[in-house]
Structure formats: structure tokens, C-alpha cells
Amino acid sequence: MAFSSSRLPSVIQALDTFSRRVCQACSALSLVMVVVMLVIVVLRYGFQMGWIALQESVTYLHGAVFLLALGYTLQCDGHVRVDVFYRRFSPRRQAMVNFWGTLLLLIPVCGFLLYYAVPYAADSWALMETSKEPGGLPLVFVLKSLIPLGIGILLLQGVSELCRSFLNWRYNTEVQ
């Protein structure tokens, strides 16, 4: 399948490792999310207790889970494709699709999103923005920062995919 990692330029390997590690870390949060949700239900229905902050923490966990995993999901080819034709392409042809797609679609999209999302998060940091609910988590700036962070990781993974697909396409490095 993929060519051996020793022949990968180190930049690809470094970026791949980075997004994988981030995803591994944030995947643990999906378990935390399940547990916190259970705690909320038990507290509310069993003990007549509830905190807005606890309720909001699920939103934070949720945001972290899906945003920080965008990059690794790209690495695992986990983002849905219309693969009617794609699955019948040769690996080289697939690499070509991925090269041009990454260059013309992924990188501009991430660049565009970052261009607006970074100042958006920065403004929130400047205010140390808190929840709009009294008793909510005072960490809205963290939640907002997850957006450029997640997109940034996706962009970095995109660079890795660009390199990989370029090698596979132009130099036919893929072991068939």
C-alpha cells in the first residue's frame, strides 16, 4: 500500500505524527463527554441538581473532539468522498486528484477560514470572553480558539497530503 515511512520526507512524517497525536489526545475527550453527559442526567433526574457550567462543558468537549480531529481524519482518508470514479482510479491518478484538490480546494478553504477565524478568536481573548449565561464557563475564548486551531491542524495535514500526493503522482513512489 503506502510506501515505507523511511522514504517519506521527514516533513510528511512530522506533520502526520503531529495530527495523529493531537487526535489521540482529543479522542479521550469523547469518553469524558460520555461520562459528563451521564453525570448531568443522573444529577438532574436523580438528585435534582444541575449546573449550567457542567452543561456547557459538554459543548466544549464536543467542539474539541470534532475540531481537533479534522486533520487526522484527513490523514486516515476519513472525510467522505464521492468515490464512484475515484475508487476505480489508479493510485497515481488518485494521487493527482488529491494533489490538485489539496492545492486548489483544501489550502484556499483553510486559508480563508483562518483569515477570519484568527482575529475572531483573538478578539475573544482580548476580552477574556465568558459565557453569556450567568454561572456558565468563563472560557468562551478557549472555545473560539478551537476553531482556528482545528482548521490550522487541518491545513498542516493538508501540506503533508500535498507533499505525499505530489511524490506519489510525479515520482510514482507508491508501492503497488
Binding site: 487526535c23 489521540q24 482529543c26 479522542s27 479521550a28 469523547s30 469518553l31 463527554m33 460520555v34 461520562v35 459528563v36 453527559m37 451521564l38 448531568i40 442526567v41 433526574y45 459538554v58 459543548t59 464536543h62 467542539g63 473532539v65 470534532f66 475540531l67 480531529a69 479534522l70 487526522y72 481524519t73 484527513l74 486516515c76 476519513g78 472525510h79 467522505v80 468522498r81 464521492v82 468515490d83 464512484v84 470514479f85 475515484y86 475508487r87 482510479f89 488518485q94 486528484v97 488529491n98 490538485w100 484538490g101 486548489l104 480546494l105 483544501l106 484556499p108 478553504v109 480563508f112 477560514l113 477570519y116 477565524a117 475572531y120 478568536a121 472555545l143 473560539k144 478551537l146 476553531i147
Partner: protein
């Protein structure tokens, strides 16, 4: 410049066929169009500055928190081999009857669908486990693969279902918008819970129709063969137990989960999101009881959950860029004008939408259609007085059909991936045809008797 909106849509569909990830294609092509529109006039570039706000809207959407929780539950159940035990036990019990194996497949499919329902996982599990047994029993490859594909998609329509959560989120705002635009200031609301309840009768009806079909055909082609069954009882620890006993122990976990999750939603103890949290915890517990819960296992489950969640939300992000640009070109007004001026009024509009959704189902999957197409057409349809629960179930059923429809149905790909090479792709295509006909029959039935979807929610909540 409104026609640009249609060109945009056509271009997105065209570029999608190259096979680059859908979410990025949606967003990327839209941005290119926005750039051109801004340069030549006809697109107000300040629309694009709304993007971070829209992203934050996605991050803070509370309805969609149910998605990763239900995904977690589904993946956990799959990894803890609940489906396998069920299938083996059910086959052991029913295998002695001529159509027993096929009936088992449908029943197990229904139980899995009602306890979670991730199409890919169900089709793959059943394909690995029951396809060889069904072939051993003399079922034709077409019949066996068709039954597995079809029952694997039941999770879409039988609650709890990710498809219904996503539809519920989109429909609830569309419904409010539609009613207010009609000047109805006594708007009803529709929630994910309403859709779950509404889907129950049509979902069960679908199971009944499947069962009738497999019994009729199964009796003709299947043979009962206990010997064959013992061979297929692959990799099961419960092979030593009595069939009834193992069925009981296999049936209890999913039934408990169904009661906890669906029961608490139906009885109003909990919102769908809360029920999803409880269901996910329940799946965790069951895995522990079945001694399937290790740290390594947990890592696999959380990684799968995370990746699937990221996939869903990446599409939501891409669809959000698309709909912003589509709106910026005035596309929404265009669709509104087109649908309201169709001859045939409500019926004509509904028919066109259903056909378009069915056709789009060839290339897009349910998440993309829900996020891209439904927000555009639903407000118009609902403003014509269509019931939102009925519309939701019709769409869900329609989208479920597209999972099955050759040549691009996702269920077919999943099964193709695990079926032995001796099974021809054309067998699979032929096998699903009767099930697609059943789906269409049910769709027509639902169109004639909307009460099939609307009766239960109305009765339960009044």
C-alpha cells in the same frame, strides 16, 4: 446573477465526481465562485466575513451534541460484538426453519437499528457473519446480499438515528421560518424527539414488509440445515450454550439499551441528547459485562468515534460555506420561486423534491443532502402546509433508499468490501431491487396516509 447559484450547484456536483473529499469540495468551489462573483459584480464579498460566526454557531449547536454520543454508542456496541452474539443466537434458534436465517438477519438488523444504527458497521458485521451461512443454506447470492444490505440500512430510519438528529436540527428551524412566513404566529415546533417518535411506525412497518418478503422468498429457496449452521457459528464463545439460553443472554443487552434510550425519549424522561449520553454509557457497561472492555479497545472506540464525528462536522462546515455563497447569489429566492410556481401545487413540489433528493442520493450521502439541500427546500415545502414530521420521515426514508440504490449506494459498497469474490457485483445489484421496491411502496403508502408518521407523536404528546 441568480443563475450563478445554479451554476455553482452544478459545478459542485461536477467537481465532486473527481472524488476529492466532499466537504472541502463544497467549500472550495463555493469560494472560487464567490471570488469570481465579487470581481465581476453580483456577489457581496462582505457575506464571507460571516464565516467565523457561522463556524461558532456550529460549535455551539446543542442539538448536534447527540451525534458523537450516538456514534460512540454504536461503535462500542459493534466492538463489543453485540451484533455477533445476537446473530449467532438468533440463527441457532430460527435456523431450523426454511427461511429462518433470512428472518434472523432482518430481526437482528432491526434490533441493532433500534439500539443505534451505523449503517456501515451493521452491513459489514452482518456481511461477514451471515452471508456465508445464508449461501450455505442455498439462498441465492442476490437474495442473501440484498437482505443484508437492506436490513443494514434500517438504522437510518429506526430511531435513534443520526440521520433523524441531523434532519431534526435542520427541520426545526425551517419549520419555524416557514410558519412565520405564512403569518402563522401560533407555530408548532418540531424536535429531534418528534422525529424519533414519528419514525417508529414507518420503521417497524418497513421491518414487517422486509420480513414478509424474506419469508416468502426464503421458504422457496432456503433450506434448513442444522449442520450448516454449526459450521457458520464462527468465532463465538456462546456455541457451548443452549440456543435459548444464548439467545436470552444475547438479546438482553440490546433490549436493555433500546428500553433505556428509546424508552426515556418516548416517555419524556430525557431529551435525545441526554438519552444518547445514557445510551453511550450503557454500551460501555455492556462491553464491560461482556469482558470486551480493555484499554486498547477503548482507544479504538474513541478514535473511531472521534474520526466519524470530525467527518460529520467537516461536512457541516463545508455545507455552511456553500449555503452562505448560494444565498449570497440569491439562490434561495430562486428555489423558492421555482418550487412555489410548479404546477400541481404542494403535490408537484413534494414530488420534485423527493425525486431530486433520490437522484442526489446517487452521489451525495445523507449528511450532505441534509445540510445542503434540505435547508433550501424544506422552508418552501413547510410553508405550503406540509407536516414537518411527515416531511422528515419521507426524507429519511428516501435517503435510506439511496443507500441501497445501485450503482452508488453506500450499503452496497460496504457489503462489496466484505463479500467473497465469488459474489458478483451484479448479484448485489439484483438483490437489492426488491427491497428498493418495498421502500418505494412504503414511501407511496406514507404519502397516501401521512398518519403513519404523524399519528404516534400526536397521540403520545397530547
Amino acid at each position: 446573477m441568480e443563475w450563478m447559484a445554479l451554476v455553482l450547484f452544478a459545478c459542485v456536483c461536477g467537481v465532486l465526481l473527481f472524488g476529492y473529499p466532499v466537504a472541502l469540495t463544497l467549500a472550495g468551489v463555493s469560494l472560487i465562485f464567490a471570488g469570481i462573483g465579487a470581481l465581476v459584480g453580483g456577489f457581496d464579498a462582505s457575506y464571507l466575513t460571516a464565516m467565523p460566526n457561522r463556524l461558532f454557531g456550529i460549535v455551539s449547536n446543542e442539538t448536534l451534541i447527540a451525534v458523537p454520543l450516538f456514534v460512540f454508542m454504536g461503535v462500542m456496541l459493534e466492538k463489543s460484538k453485540v451484533a455477533e452474539s445476537l446473530l449467532v443466537a438468533m440463527a441457532a434458534l430460527l435456523g431450523k426453519y426454511r427461511s429462518g436465517m433470512a428472518v434472523s438477519v432482518v430481526l437482528v438488523g432491526m434490533l441493532l437499528a433500534a439500539s443505534t444504527g451505523i449503517v456501515g458497521a451493521t452491513v459489514v458485521t452482518m456481511g461477514l457473519l451471515s452471508l456465508p451461512s445464508m449461501l450455505n443454506r442455498g439462498y441465492s447470492p442476490a437474495f442473501a446480499t440484498g437482505a443484508i444490505c437492506a436490513t443494514g440500512t434500517l438504522g437510518q430510519i429506526i430511531p435513534p438515528s443520526i440521520a433523524l438528529i441531523l434532519l431534526g436540527d435542520v427541520l426545526s428551524s425551517a419549520y419555524q421560518k416557514a410558519q412565520l412566513s405564512m403569518g402563522i404566529f401560533s407555530p408548532d415546533s418540531v424536535s429531534v424527539g418528534d422525529l424519533f417518535v414519528g419514525a417508529l411506525v414507518p420503521g417497524l412497518l418497513l421491518v414487517v414488509l422486509y420480513l414478509i418478503y424474506v419469508m416468502v422468498v426464503g421458504v422457496k429457496s432456503g433450506k434448513s440445515d442444522d449442520a450448516a449452521m454449526n459450521i457458520d457459528a464462527t468465532a463465538t464463545a456462546s456455541a457451548t450454550e443452549e440456543p435459548e439460553q444464548s439467545l436470552f443472554s444475547a438479546l438482553v443487552p440490546p433490549l436493555l439499551l433500546i428500553i433505556v434510550v428509546l424508552g426515556s425519549i418516548l416517555a419524556g424522561f430525557a431529551t435525545p441528547t441526554e438519552a444518547a449520553g445514557v445510551g453511550a454509557s450503557g454500551a460501555l457497561l455492556l462491553a464491560a459485562f461482556k469482558k470486551q472492555l480493555s484499554l486498547a479497545q477503548l482507544k479504538v472506540v474513541t478514535m473511531d468515534t472521534t474520526r466519524m464525528t470530525a467527518m460529520v462536522f467537516m461536512i457541516l462546515i463545508g455545507a455552511s460555506v456553500f449555503s452562505l455563497v448560494f444565498r449570497g447569489f440569491g439562490g434561495e429566492e430562486l428555489i423558492h420561486g421555482f418550487l412555489t410556481e410548479l404546477p400541481g401545487g404542494v403535490f408537484g413540489a413534494m414530488l420534485v423534491v423527493m425525486l431530486v433528493v433520490f437522484a442526489l442520493g446517487f452521489i451525495l450521502d445523507f449528511i450532505e443532502i441534509t445540510f445542503v439541500v434540505v435547508p433550501i427546500v424544506a422552508p418552501v415545502l413547510l410553508a405550503m402546509g406540509i407536516d414537518p414530521v411527515w416531511l422528515g420521515i419521507m426524507l429519511a426514508l428516501n435517503l435510506q433508499t439511496s443507500f441501497l440504490t445501485p450503482p452508488f449506494g453506500f450499503a452496497l459498497f460496504y457489503l462489496r468490501g466484505v463479500a467473497p469474490p465469488t459474489i458478483l457485483t451484479s448479484d448485489i445489484y439484483r438483490g437489492v431491487v426488491p427491497f428498493i421496491i418495498i421502500q418505494i411502496v412504503l414511501l407511496i403508502g406514507l404519502a397516501i396516509w401521512p398518519e403513519l408518521a404523524t399519528w404516534l407523536p400526536e397521540t403520545l404528546y397530547s
